[in-house]
């Protein structure tokens, strides 16, 4: 079983905002996340077309190498500022609220059966 830890952001965006949210997430949030050791695995859209009068849900799947990398991402430290309160991360989520109906974050591990 892989040691990788997966983080899934599921964002229900306001009608017509799927592309705007995706682009801003990738421009404004993703660089900081990568700097904290996160690896962007994939970006998905559902329903599978951009809706203008209804909401889409965007799925951003990230991973970190292992549990130690998880805590480094959460708390900082090492060659990054130690930031247990996460002050550097809060800004994006507040800024994105105007485009957001709701969001979930799930922490996952690989559970596929070993062949």
């Amino acid at each position: 079983m892989s040691d990788r830890v997966y983080i899934l952001d599921e964002i229900v965006v306001r009608p017509g905002c799927a592309r705007t949210y995706r682009d801003r997430y990738l421009t404004d949030y993703a660089p900081g996340a990568r700097g904290r050791g996160m690896h962007l695995e994939s970006v998905y859209l559902t329903p599978p077309l951009e809706l203008q009068e209804q909401s889409n849900t965007l799925h951003f799947l990230w991973s970190v190498a292992d549990v130690a990398a998880w805590w480094a991402m959460r708390l900082g430290g090492g060659d990054r500022p130690f930031d247990p309160a996460g002050t550097e991360k809060v800004g994006w989520w507040l800024e994105a609220e105007e485009l957001t109906v709701s969001r979930r974050r799930s922490v996952m591990i690989d559970f596929a059966p070993v062949p």
Binding site: V5, V67, W70, W71, R74, P84, A85, G86, T87, K89, V90, W93, S102, R103, R104, R105, V107, I109
Partner: protein, 211 residues
């Protein structure tokens, strides 16, 4: 019901930390209704915990009120960063004879207005943690009834461990912690209810502190 007072101290420059500990320990002997006292130097890696912790236990809040008459020195008062007053909450002490271990406390504040059912779920999940993390030897989760300092503190979550490896190892690495409980504390998580400014402290302790 056991009543506890937990204080953190930032020892002033020029004051020897061991002398400060000795001074607090001597002060504790003058509290006539004190049931148990622990004064410890905080271990490296603490968050917002100063250099010294004093945990005082009384048989009841009324017993504490009697001992309040014996005041700390002005220097000790000025060095005090945060104070929490609490009745010992849900707890378990299957290892009362623990020796030369680690006492650890997390003092934190839940956001005002947090829904009662959400808070109840949070407490239930915290209380379930020791079933998974077996290095937690004794534990207690207490609601704060009054506090002074950087936040209006809500809870004191305390554990006794056999050693630091129990805290830094299984406690931090167990998936129940980082994969489930941590969401209540994670500023990025929509389920977060705990203020990002908290106190995490650990001290070497000759005896179990949760009794």
């Amino acid at each position: 019901m056991t009543f506890a007072v937990l204080r953190s101290f930032a020892v002033p420059d020029g004051i020897n930390v061991d002398d400060f500990v000795a001074g607090l320990t001597e002060h504790a002997t003058r509290l006539s209704t004190l049931a148990h006292s622990f004064v410890g130097r905080t271990l490296p890696g603490g968050i917002n915990d100063g250099q010294v912790i004093w945990r005082a236990e009384f048989a009841s809040e009324a017993h504490y009120q009697v001992s309040r008459r014996a005041a700390m020195t002005s220097m000790q008062n000025e060095a005090c960063q945060d104070t929490v007053f609490y009745h010992l909450g849900r707890h378990a002490t299957p290892h009362p004879n623990l020796r030369n271990g680690i006492w650890r406390a997390l003092v934190f504040s839940v956001e005002p207005g947090t829904d009662r059912q959400v808070r109840a779920q949070f407490e239930a999940e915290m209380l379930a943690m020791p079933r998974h993390v077996t290095t937690i030897r004794n534990w207690s989760l207490s609601r704060v009834c009054a506090s002074q300092g950087a936040r209006p503190w809500s809870y004191v979550w305390e554990q006794d461990f056999d050693n630091l490896e129990g805290l830094h190892g299984q406690y931090m690495m167990h998936p129940i912690h980082w994969g489930s409980i941590d969401r209540w504390y994670d500023v990025e998580h929509p389920d977060r209810i705990v203020d990002g400014y908290l106190i995490h402290t650990a001290c070497a302790s000759a005896t179990a502190q949760i009794r």
